[in-house]
């Protein structure tokens, strides 16, 4: 069983889980051609 300390840690982790970092949070802003992720057809090349 989790002790109270770990239980409260889990609560905070779970809260953060619902607003995970986005890829662009870790990148400088692209002012000219900003990243605009979208679902492209699977048959397009993906890499």
């Amino acid at each position: 069983p989790l002790n109270t300390d770990h239980q409260s840690q889990f609560t905070m982790m779970e809260a953060a889980f619902y607003h995970m970092p986005h890829a662009s949070d870790s990148e400088r802003m692209r002012v000219y051609l900003p990243k605009n992720i979208c679902q492209t057809p699977a048959y397009y090349n993906q890499v």
């Binding site: 970092p21 890829a23 000219y32 051609l33 992720i37 090349n45």
Partner: protein, 182 residues
């Protein structure tokens, strides 16, 4: 035999549980680590294009910071003063560049739509762009397919190559649709 989780029977319980409830044994049987979006067979280092612990694929070239001369860095304020991106004014070369490097991005679809409007067609199985080769007669044409010599865009050698194709119309992509909010 040992009657608890420290013996073979205990492990057998896990193995059997794995069949019924895969989420239960993720630690004990692990996952297929080759399916985590990392190119583990790459002969080169992969950390420089590692897109982070939650990404499903590697960084694209344009996602990565390169030390460029400060003049190359576009200042946020003059962004609006620069000419907007207009794909219909660009040559095919640039359209193919955008299609092949902006994977998973709106720009890939936008470039595809512009290529389509210039009579290129994307072959969904061969995964190549194809267009009519001027002056090359069609050998055969039916309601479902046509055969003849066409240009296809060879992305590895970055050029148009003439080639004989049996074009099954059902394998050619229709007009690419830009996402509603773009």
């Amino acid at each position: 035999m040992i009657p608890n989780q420290f013996g073979i029977v205990g492990l057998l319980t896990f193995i059997r549980a794995a069949e019924s409830d895969p989420s239960l044994v993720s630690l004990a049987l692990g996952q297929d680590l080759t399916a985590l979006g990392l190119n583990l067979n790459s002969p080169d280092n992969i950390y420089l294009s590692f897109a982070g612990p939650w990404a499903d694929s590697a960084c694209r070239p344009q996602d990565m910071d390169h030390n460029v001369p400060p003049e190359y860095l576009i200042n946020g304020s003059i962004r609006e003063k620069l000419a907007p991106v207009r794909l219909n004014r660009y040559k095919e070369d640039l359209l193919f560049y955008l299609f092949y490097s902006y994977v998973g991005d709106v720009l890939q679809i936008a470039a595809a739509a512009e290529l389509y409007s210039r009579e290129w067609r994307y072959h969904m199985e061969e995964k190549v762009w194809i267009s009519q080769a001027p002056g090359m007669p069609m050998v055969e044409k039916t309601s479902t397919y046509e055969r003849g010599t066409y240009y296809f865009f060879d992305a590895h050698n970055w050029r148009k190559v003439a080639k004989e194709f049996h074009l099954d119309y059902s394998k050619l992509e229709g007009r690419p649709q830009l996402p509603a909010h773009v």
